[in-house]
């Protein structure tokens, strides 16, 4: 239980800090870089290294590569949906999560099959 409380507090703090930094910066496209900051990764990997050691963190970051590829695709899809389909931000970002899931698991499966 303590582990998850620590995770919540550390994760909340790191994510809020990056979000605050992004809010302070202009232009908006530059501030958007902080929307894809590895804030959850920084919080999680610190705990992972402390609990399980560096080998476990290596496995996690190798999988994170697939997640990052999916994030790039997801962000581009959200941008196009907002501009072309004229959906509001909440449905556009929420519906596009399906794209993230498909690409992330697709790249992970493909990379796993190659090794």
């Amino acid at each position: 239980m303590t582990e998850y409380v620590v995770r919540f507090l550390v994760g909340g703090l790191v994510v809020s800090s990056f979000a605050l930094l992004g809010e302070l910066l202009r232009p908006k496209s530059f501030a958007g870089l902080f929307g894809a900051a590895p804030s959850v990764a920084l919080a999680t990997l610190g705990i992972a290294v402390y609990q399980h050691g560096p080998d476990y963190a290596v496995l996690q970051t190798q999988a994170m590569i697939a997640g990052a590829v999916a994030l790039a695709v997801y962000s581009a899809v959200v941008c196009h949906v907002l501009v072309r389909a004229r959906l509001k931000a909440l449905p556009a970002t929420a519906l596009s999560l399906a794209v993230w899931l498909v690409v992330a698991f697709g790249v992970l499966t493909f990379a796993g099959a190659q090794t």
Partner: protein, 172 residues
Amino acid sequence: MTPIRFSPSSLKEGRWYDYVIRFALGGAATVFTGLVSNHYGAAIGGLFLALPAIFCASATLIEKHEIRRKREAGLAGGRRGQMAAALDSAGAALGALGMLAFAIVFSVTVQTSVAAAFMGASLAWLVVSVAAWHVRRKIRGARTHKKSGSAISRSRGLDRPTWIKPPSRPLR
């Protein structure tokens, strides 16, 4: 081109609960990643280190702020809000390249030194993200310049009254 700058006044647009939402979502995403890692292993858990859970809230808040600002000026602002969120997501797509660099550098260096892995990976994220943003801006700037240049030359041709002959020699 707009220079990169700090805009402390934008903090005044935010409400206290915006920060609470972000803190709660950030904490929840980190707990969720931990739960997935513990139940399904490090590989599946690692995938969720790049989950855009916070992005949904950020884009929605950006849209909301933009709409509020335009309403205060007596405009609808709905479309403007969508475009602001779209700009943020375009930035996030470039930031994802930085996240890719973060993951690669961390996985390569963590077995040598944990501290160096955190510092090196964070630096890689920053350098790659900012470089990608600069490259995109240069390309867009060049395209816009080219378009506006051709538009001016076209408009010069159209705007010139037919009774005025073009100069026989270039004007100095």
